[in-house]
Subunit: 665 residues, 2 copies
């Protein structure tokens, strides 16, 4: 550690150092101290062979979680059991299942069942499907998931956003009113391909792809979708008969207000308002007191029962209150023969399914991760995707549409004390009983209640607190968030989604094209070099410019990095001119954060070296990482620059260069 | 600097240190030394206001080169002059122009003119246009560029790859044989939009977008295009009349061999081979002796003259040797009325133009940068784009097709000693004379000579040395390179280009999703912590795990980073178990390379903190940068973690944590 380089700030150092009774000693120690660290050379890692290098890269990309860890050093039969358990985790946790756990699962299962039944009926309307399809989707998929999934808290079934997305996308292709069968066929086909997409992503361990949708974009998208869904509910809530098929704010408001004088039904509005007030009140109670979480959870079912009774007794349906009228009784019929397996509709189904499948994954993964982190258990994202995918493929064969993990029901599940996926089995069983026996009782359920239930459910998706936090933390993220939000509200779900994806990618690309660079200075009486903007007390070393590049140098930024470094040089030299201080003679690039470099990057370094040579400035590199130093060697840049100009630390570099600086007027 | 933490490797330290006569002193210094650095707190930069922050971000992204630097502190009239000079650099350098410079420009201008005339005639064939359009494109665009461009070495005109690309893309829409006029109209329309695209990219300072095409992908694409072009020349070279319109290797070879017995013309082959041998010989001479650079430069023109004379004298055209036959005499006619300004063809023209314009930019920018670096002058990439764009827009109105900077001619221009863009004016003047007086003389020029000239020109585009270097440096880059190469050869130019773009983006995305992390160890007898893979001598500190994250933590990688850190922990703990050593009690994350963080990243840190707490491990952060520390404060993560767990350096963190480590059996 070269304590003799502080010619510019000796005074300051002396003061500092004297107070620590260090000063008179440190001048003597110099040579020892410096040779003391200088003997560490910049390490060049031993060259891996090609196959190993490639295998490591693949492993880190696709198998970063080392999923085969448990299979090491096991007998074949044990491997078979482990493999079976890996595909069906129920075989693993099922063995330790006991009555205590079942108690928790039973209560939570019953709670989410009471929540899911009214939601399912409402959500299937968002997807332009008959109410029973929502119930079907809460029967088969949860069973499949319970066997294959590894999350203990997720509650499976149809969700609002995916239902809306599916409804919008399929409606663009086929009219659900004039061609209900074809519409349904396309819905099942899309569900099938949503499942296939999820399985493929999981099986080929490409799950990380969904990470490309940024958190901010998701917050905006979800919020926008929630508002869009709520607006759609105005049809049922106000009892409007003629309603736009578009989902943007302007079309919907136009529909609402143009029908104000003759289309609204005050009886409907009254029933809807009363129960919406009740639902929101229940929500507030649940929020105030965490122990009363079951109040908002069963409030929807209570609303349905009370309002159905009310309509049945008063015969309000004759006063224009729209009712559900008919839900098919019985279990899921097979839909194997309904899938489009050829022709144009196959392609359409694939496209819609892929999009819906990805969005469904995003939601399920976010939920799964959240609860896994809360209870601190590991979740294999890719295995989860295979489970969700299989569940949707099986669902598509049994008249279900895309199911996934639901935010609201999973939270209730967690709060009700679920222990394992058995709560999904309980819920599924309740839905099974409902389908067999109870559906006819929903005949007099007013649509306005379903609208109120959906409105009160989707309100939770508007995460304004997250939006405020995003605003505080990162303005660009906030733009992404708002872009997705307003895209969904003013254009459509697809446009909003597109905006979210595009902005997310733009952010990634900007990040790699315009990496930060920083001017480093020496912290007084230390050998630590830090960003002068962050540490205003850091001082420059005369004749030496130290710049840190804060990113891997790749083709996308190599040119920028080179020019930015030269601009730092020009900036500093202009300032120096005014101060008549020593001319810059060394430029040290701190490479610690430069994790990798490619051919373009090396080319940029060569050009930088050439430009600096013309100005009589020596380039030096400090602390290049393993990948970088290996490539610098491979390309012979080290020879061009001179091995002696590559240092272990900035301090070492300054120590070596500083004595060579020639003082000028 | 905490030299008392090396309980694990004290022995080693003592040996090292004793030899430096340091040991007995350093134990006394400990407290001084550590308090000595600890008093530097992690700096939190003063909060910028929103507008300033946004403005800085925009500036760094779009105006990173500070183009308005010269306008500061100038009078208005001076600003006007500077503005005019900025748009027309000729006004700036023209004032210092002198006879000495003109001498260099005259010689180089004449040299590139002799090279460009035969090339232009050949390249226009690649674009499926009549020969005069190639010459037109070497007349007007160079003049415009000379006034507006800032590169001194670039030689403007049609180039092989863009001609091929344009030819392929337009041919997909309109058949050049049956509808030559419509084909030409679309070509001009595409040229117009190529120019508009270039102007827009430059004006809105989006020039960095072309950096997204990686060097490796370009090398592969260019090599593939060169081979495709050379294969296309087999038609002229072998005198085949019926030739495929496809450009892939298999179709072309099929065409060539199926016509072997009746379609080849031996006289054509003879003439072509002789002159190809001559051209290649000239090339070798030029390569051996840099002073003879003019030999390969004028060889094409000599070949044309000799072969034309030969055909004229022997009347070989009657023996089946295909000749040029007719080149329109006279200057560029106006093509303003030919542009498609509405309808379907407008859209097609726009698409083709945008692609061709981007590729043309890529080539011109690469050339401009190369020569600017060699002569060490600054080039404003965005201004260049405006110049190139204007030149193509003007060109599209005067019967030119897309022109750009040519690799081969620019190199000749440079070697011939050009000083300014005046060499382009000289070349343009020679082309002007050619168009006015000499074109009829090309009547008897055999097509085989043009084929030979093109083959010998495009050979240079196969940069196998770059490919070898790429292989050495980065295997993934090599795959990108080969993907583009084989895509062009076996599929088509568009497919190759698509592969190049997709692979380039995939690389960027992989880079940000799977950032590197490294386990750090202490270099013996120092306070430097380095990657243990790179420095095998680095040792771990008992009870403390130090991990460096080598990237900004964003939504795209936050989850991976969290899980990777936990996996490091599991890995190390498993190893520790076997060694019966101290349990990990502190996890220090070295944040120096973490240049930024977003909401997802902070969320991941929170989850990490929570997971570690459950395992009784304290998280500590070392050296977070300005953006990171600001956001950690904004989100209150610093409060959650405790300010005291954020350290200036890893050494400080270890110094603080190490005494708290509890030893176990």
């Amino acid at each position: 550690m070269d304590r003799n380089v502080e010619s510019a700030d000796t005074k300051e150092v002396d003061v500092d150092v004297a107070s620590l009774s260090w000063s008179h000693r440190h001048t003597h120690d110099d040579d020892h101290v410096s040779s003391f660290e200088v003997h560490h050379k910049v390490g060049v890692p031993s060259k891996q062979n090609l196959f190993k290098e490639f295998a490591n890269g693949m492993k880190e990309t696709l198998f970063s979680d080392d999923p085969l860890r448990h299979f090491k050093d096991q007998s074949n039969s044990r491997k078979f059991v482990l493999g079976l358990q890996a595909v069906f985790p129920i075989l693993e946790w099922g063995r330790g299942y006991n009555l205590m756990k079942f108690r928790g699962d039973l209560i939570s299962g019953l709670t989410i069942a009471s929540l899911c039944i009214p939601q399912d009926i409402g959500y299937s309307k968002l997807a332009n499907l008959d109410p029973q399809y929502g119930l079907y989707s809460s029967f088969v998929p949860p069973l499949v998931y319970a066997c294959m999934g590894s999350s203990r808290d997720i509650a499976i079934g149809p969700v609002a956003v995916v239902s809306l997305l599916l409804g919008t996308l399929i409606q663009n292709e086929i009219d659900p009113v004039t061609n209900p069968l074809e519409y349904r066929r396309l819905a099942f086909t899309a569900t099938f391909f949503a499942g296939i997409t999820q399985i493929i992503l999981g099986f080929f361990r490409l799950g990380f792809l969904i990470d490309f949708l940024s958190h901010a974009a998701i917050v905006g998208f979800m919020g926008g979708a929630a508002i869009t869904i709520a607006l759609q509910q105005l049809k049922g809530f106000l009892g409007i008969k003629k309603f736009t098929k578009k989902s943007d704010l302007i079309s919907v408001l136009h529909s609402v207000f143009s029908s104000m004088h003759h289309g609204w039904n005050w009886q409907t509005i009254l029933i809807g308002s009363v129960f919406l007030a009740f639902l929101i009140f229940a929500k507030i109670i649940g929020k105030r007191n965490k122990k009363l979480f079951w109040v908002p959870a069963i409030a929807p079912l209570i609303s349905v029962i009370l309002s159905t009774l009310f309509v049945f007794l008063t015969h309000a349906e004759k006063k224009g209150v729209a009712i559900v009228n008919h839900i098919e009784k019985g279990l899921n019929p097979s839909s194997v023969h309904l899938l489009y397996l050829s022709g144009e509709n196959l392609l359409k189904g694939f496209k819609i399914g892929a999009v819906a499948g990805m969005i469904a994954l995003t939601e399920a993964t976010a939920i799964g991760r959240t609860f896994a982190a809360m209870k601190d258990y590991q979740l294999d994202g890719n295995k989860e995707m295979v489970a969700l995918g299989t569940m949707n493929v099986v669902g598509s064969l049994t008249s279900c549409y895309v199911a996934t993990g639901s935010f609201s029901r999973s939270a209730v599940n967690y709060m009700a004390g679920c222990k394992t996926a058995v709560s999904n089995i309980v819920m599924s069983f309740v839905v099974f009983l409902t389908l067999l026996f109870i559906t006819p009782l929903f005949k007099y359920t007013p649509n306005a209640i379903l609208a109120s239930i959906i409105i009160s459910a989707v309100i939770n998706l508007i995460d304004y607190e997250a939006a405020i936090l995003i605003w505080k933390i990162d303005k660009f993220d906030f733009i992404a968030c708002m872009g997705a939000f307003f895209g969904v509200i003013f254009a459509s779900v697809e446009i909003g989604l597109l905006i979210a994806v595009v902005i997310s990618f733009a952010k990634i690309l900007l990040q790699v094209t315009r990496p930060r660079t920083a001017l480093l200075g020496k912290l007084p009486s230390s050998t630590i070099y830090r960003n002068v903007e962050q540490y205003p007390e850091a001082t420059s070393v005369p004749g030496i410019l130290i710049i840190r590049v804060d990113s891997a140098i790749y083709f996308s930024n190599s040119n920028y990095v080179k020019e930015r470094i030269l601009r730092w040089l020009v900036d500093v030299e202009e300032r120096k001119k005014k101060e008549y201080s020593t001319k810059i003679q060394f430029l040290i690039v701190e490479m610690s954060p430069v994790t990798d470099i490619d051919t373009s990057g090396i080319h940029a370094l060569e050009e930088l070296h050439k430009s600096l040579q013309k100005r009589n400035i020596q380039l030096a590199l400090a602390n290049p990482g393993p990948a970088v130093i290996e490539k610098l060697h491979a390309s012979s840049f080290t020879t061009l620059l001179g091995e002696e100009n590559i240092y272990l630390t900035v301090a070492n570099a300054v120590h070596a260069c500083s004595p060579k600086v020639v003082e000028e007027a």
